[in-house]
C-alpha cells in the first residue's frame, strides 16, 4: 500500500513538472542561431539535401562516432552475457511453410531496401541507422523462419570491424586532407546537388555506418536466439 502511494506520488510529481512545461509551450516561429546556420548554409556548404544527415554525419560527426561505439559496446556485452548462460542445443520448432517461403522471397528485397535507405541518406529521410535497422529486420525474419540454422557470427564480426575501421579512417582522412578537420566530407568533390553521388564523403560514411549498425543489430538478434557457440560462416 505504501509502495502504491509512492508510485502515485512520483507520477503526480512528474505530471506536475510536465504540466508546467506543457502549459508554457508554444511552438517557435524562427530557428535558433546554430540551427538556422545548419538549415540555411548547410546545403550549400556540404551539398547534402537532408539537413539532419549533414548534422549527424558532418557537423556533429564526432558524436555519431561515439554513438556507434556505444552501440558496438552494447552489442558486444549482449553477445558476451548471453553466450555465458545459454541453454544447450535444444531443437526449436521450425517456421511454417508460409513463413519460410515468404522469407526466401522477402529477405533479399529487405536487404536491398536497407541498402537503398542508407545510400540515399543524404537525399531522403533515412540514413545509416535506419538502413541498418531495416537490414537487421531481414535477419529477424530469417531467424524466425529457420531457428536451428547456425548463424554466421564470424562474417558479421568481420563486416562490423571493417566498417568501423573504415569509418575512423575516412574521418581521419578528413582531418589530414581538408581544412575543417576530422570527419569533413569535402575531401571528395561535392558533385551535382541532389544526385546520388554528391555531398562528398557523406554517402560513403553513411554506407559504412549502415553496414556497421546492420551487422551489430543482427548479431544482437542472433545472440538472443541462442546456440551461437559453434561459429561458422
Amino acid at each position: 500500500m505504501v509502495k502504491k502511494g509512492f508510485i502515485l506520488l512520483m507520477i503526480v510529481a512528474l505530471g506536475f513538472m510536465l504540466w508546467d512545461f506543457v502549459g508554457n509551450y508554444s511552438s517557435k516561429t524562427e530557428l535558433a542561431d546554430v540551427s538556422s546556420h545548419y538549415v540555411e548554409q548547410g546545403p550549400e556548404e556540404l551539398g547534402a539535401a537532408n539537413v539532419v544527415t549533414s548534422v549527424v554525419v558532418t557537423y556533429r560527426g564526432l558524436d555519431t562516432l561515439g554513438e556507434v561505439t556505444i552501440l558496438f559496446a552494447a552489442a558486444a556485452v549482449v553477445g558476451l552475457l548471453l553466450h555465458l548462460n545459454r541453454n544447450e542445443n535444444e531443437q526449436r520448432r521450425e517456421g511454417s511453410e508460409l513463413l519460410k517461403t515468404g522469407t526466401a522471397l522477402l529477405f533479399p528485397l529487405i536487404l536491398l531496401f536497407g541498402v537503398y535507405v542508407f545510400i540515399n541518406g543524404h537525399l531522403t529521410p533515412g540514413g545509416g541507422f535506419q538502413g541498418g535497422a531495416i537490414i537487421a529486420s531481414a535477419v529477424v525474419l530469417s531467424v524466425l523462419s529457420d531457428p536451428n540454422k547456425k548463424a554466421g557470427h564470424t562474417a558479421l564480426t568481420v563486416i562490423e570491424s571493417l566498417s568501423g575501421l573504415t569509418y575512423v579512417l575516412l574521418g581521419a582522412a578528413g582531418a589530414i586532407l581538408a581544412v575543417n578537420g576530422f570527419l569533413d566530407n569535402r575531401i571528395l568533390p561535392l558533385g551535382e546537388y541532389g544526385s546520388l553521388l554528391s555531398a562528398g564523403l557523406i554517402p560513403a560514411i553513411y554506407s559504412v555506418v549502415g553496414l556497421k549498425v546492420g551487422s551489430e543489430l543482427s548479431s544482437v538478434v542472433i545472440s538472443f536466439k541462442g546456440d551461437s557457440k559453434e561459429e561458422e560462416v
Binding site: K4, I7, M10, I11, L14, G15, L18, W19, F21, V22, Y25, S26, S27, K28, T29, E30, L31, A32, V34, S35, Y38, V39, E40, G42, P43, E44, A49, N50, V51, V52, V55, V56, R60, D63, T64, E67, I70, L71, A73, A74, A75, V77, V78, L81, L82, L84, N85, N87, L123, T124, P125, G127, F129, Y193, G194, V213, L217, V220, S223, F224
Partner: protein
C-alpha cells in the same frame, strides 16, 4: 498546434511509461514501460524543435533555401537517442534472459538479493 499535440502526447507517454516501470512486477513489462518512457521523451524533444508551419528539413533544390524548415538539431539528437535507447533495451533484455535462466522466473519480488 501540431507542436502542442506532440508535447501533450509525449508527456502522457512519459507518465504511462513511468507508471508501467514502477507498478509492474514482471521484468519484461518493466522494460516495456521503460521503452514507452523513452518514446515519450523523444516526442517531447521533437516538439521543442517544431517551427510553426515548417516542413521536414530536406532541401530538395538550392532555390528552396528560404523556406521554413523545422529545427534539424533535435531530430539529429533524437536519432542518436533512439539508437542508444535500443542499445539499453537490448542490454536490459539480456539481463532479463540471464535472470530467468538463473531463477526460472521473471517476477522481481523473487529476486531477494536485490532487496534492501
Amino acid at each position: 498546434m501540431i507542436g502542442t499535440m506532440a508535447i501533450i502526447t509525449g508527456s502522457l507517454l512519459i507518465l504511462i511509461g513511468l507508471w508501467g516501470l514502477l507498478s509492474n512486477k514482471d521484468i519484461i513489462r518493466m522494460i516495456v514501460g521503460f521503452s514507452l518512457f523513452d518514446v515519450g521523451i523523444h516526442i517531447v524533444m521533437l516538439s521543442i524543435g517544431y517551427i510553426n508551419g515548417g516542413t521536414a528539413p530536406i532541401v530538395e533544390k538550392l532555390s528552396d533555401l528560404g523556406k521554413t524548415y523545422v529545427d534539424p538539431v533535435p531530430q539529429a539528437l533524437v536519432l542518436t537517442a533512439i539508437v542508444i535507447g535500443l542499445g539499453i533495451t537490448a542490454f536490459m533484455l539480456t539481463y532479463a534472459v540471464n535472470m530467468y535462466l538463473k531463477k526460472g522466473t521473471l517476477d522481481i519480488d523473487k529476486f531477494e538479493e536485490l532487496k534492501w
